[in-house]
Amino acid sequence: MLKLVCLVPLLPLIGFLVIGLFGKKLSKGWVSAIGCGSVFASFAISLAIFIELIGRVEKSYTIDLFSWISAGKLSIPFSFLVDPLSSLFLLIITGIGFLIHLYSTGYMSKDEGFSTFFAYLNLFIFFMLILVLGSNYLIMFVGWEGVGLCSYLLIGFWFKNTAYNDAAKKAFIMNRIGDLGFLLGIILIYVTFGSVGYYEVGQFLISGSYVSGTPVITAITLLLFVGAIGKSAQLPLYTWLPDAMAGPTPVSALIHAATMVTAGIYMIARSNLLFTMAPITMDVVAIVGVCTALFAATIGLAQNDIKKILAYSTVSQLGFMFLALGVGAYTGAVFHVMTHAFFKALLFLGAGSVIHAMSGAQDIRKMGGLKKYLPITQLTFLLGTLAIVGFPGFSGFFSKDEILAAAYESNKLLWFLGILAAAMTTFYMFRLFFLTFTGNFRGSNHQKEHLHESPKSMTIPLIILAALSVFGGFIGIPEVLGGHHFLEEFLKPVFEGSSLRITHQLSHNTEYGLMAATTFVMAASLFYAYTIYFKNKTLPAEEGEKLNPWHQLIYKKYLVDELYNTLITKPLNLISGGLHKIMENQLVDGIINGIGTIVNWASTKIRLVQTGNIGFYIFVMVISIVLILFTQMI
């Protein structure tokens, strides 16, 4: 069965090629069938692999395909690694991927780029699978850049719109900033360990050749983390993700919420041995994570675009995952990746359903009362919201609790900031929910007539995801609640090496206390949102209305985009123009042309010797001969 793992990425690739090459000639039905079918087949195989892996004792298998790059001592095979971590990600990617493909058949049905869209989606799945399946860092990098490309293509899917194209370009370039860090990290790994394979690097580290905190390990991990910052939209490279909402909503769900943006977490979890040996980097990861969680959550408080709110919430949740990684709770991070994939995909798809019903409008100030028209969407959205805020029993509760417990153990301040971010999450998510689904409809009459529940192809994925959001947490019920943490057991072989160094020993009472605190803060925040937006029916400020400075600042997203524009984009253009006009044309070319000019000038002077007077020539000749003879005599 494990040999079949090659088929997992191969099938979407074939799907991509077929749709990409013959898409124009195929009917929409065939395109959907090939698009969804290939991903579903991958899902089936992934599931079989997952189940088989549970049963096996040996958990890690490498499948060599061919030798990719080799030069001298450097040799990089194109090979796959099947182990608990990658098989779990396979399941998430193909599972959610399939649901979103299915959803897209309904959501995109009227779009002229239908087949292109499915081709891109399949290509994305292919690269994402390569990312998690690779057995060395360079193969991960292949997938890493590949998903970046697909993200670029899909954000700019409606390519006639310049703003969307700009957003796509921004995403690609910001990702590339991270990618450079990642690439340098890979090279440093090669230079240090002589290999870029996970297994080889792991062996090196376990053998104890390096002590914890060695500068070179810190450098490697920091460089890798730069890559993760770019891909997973952390401070300071997060600004592309909210803009990436320009793409079709299924794309936002699949790429910019459930899968691609979690690549950074996967990468660090995969490199857990390296990171565990670099305490400084771990602190950096935790701090960046918690800051992002808090920072993005505050921005989310004041946004009015349904997708932008979800985007900032994604950034914030990714921050939680990095916090988990930074305090060494690798399982918690992966757990949260999984539950987040469920509920965030659900929320985005729900938002898509709302947008679909609203004929494309995304401003929640113009919504309200949609409960009546979109009952299924409303219910599933509510379940998703409860899951993300960590309502006890829902999936988000278990994963977030695990993260916060680990943070508490590591540093109380991290825990406190995490709780604060969680409280804000609750507030803005319920603000979103109340404004969208309760109260009276505030849109135009034209929109009102058009309101309708989405077709089956869209609601079925919602229902499945809602079920997963509710029950998905049960695979990781902590011991303290009388559960058996299945996920931790399953992932143990991957994180074993690190857990020797990082231990978790909170007393049961402390854990109960933490849970109670989390739940209490969540409830208080929920109640606050309820009072404002449900009971008092307060509406967000309209455009141009005067806001207090703080509100204004977070409404304007702390002006970070403007800041980057002034600090980086404009100076870069200035430098470019300056280099071209002054350095290039005046200085470098000036010197070259100057040499030519000097030769020309000198020749105009020297040629004056050619007077044309024969007498002068002869005189010079005679004098010269005499001089030569004279010097010869000496």
Partner: protein
């Protein structure tokens, strides 16, 4: 002892030097192209004289061979040079080298 060797070599050297100097000065100071031409011939002949004298004193015939060479070349040169001068004169009505300075810069 041949007739040439009756006169000491120094005298030949002196005569040759004087002739050559006259030729050089003629070339330098005269402006008429034909006279310059004649001065050049004078220099050539000064050299010829020297060649012959040394050839005789050293009993080596190579010098005389050279003299014939120089005479042949000088003849050819005169033929071509005078022809050029003729053409110059026909076109400009002058043989003054100070006026013939078109070929400059």
């Amino acid at each position: 002892m041949s007739a040439i060797q009756v006169i000491p070599l120094n005298w030949y050297l002196l005569l040759s030097t004087v002739l050559f100097t006259i030729g050089v000065l003629g070339v330098l100071f005269r402006r008429n192209a034909i006279i310059i031409f004649m001065s050049i011939e004078l220099m050539l002949n000064a050299v010829n004289l020297l060649f012959v004298a040394f050839s005789s004193y050293l009993s080596d015939s190579k010098g005389q061979v050279f003299v014939f060479f120089i005479m042949a070349v000088a003849a050819a040169e005169v033929a071509v040079g005078l022809a050029i001068l003729m053409m110059v004169y026909r076109n400009t009505k002058t043989t003054d080298i100070n006026i013939l300075n078109k070929l400059k810069w």
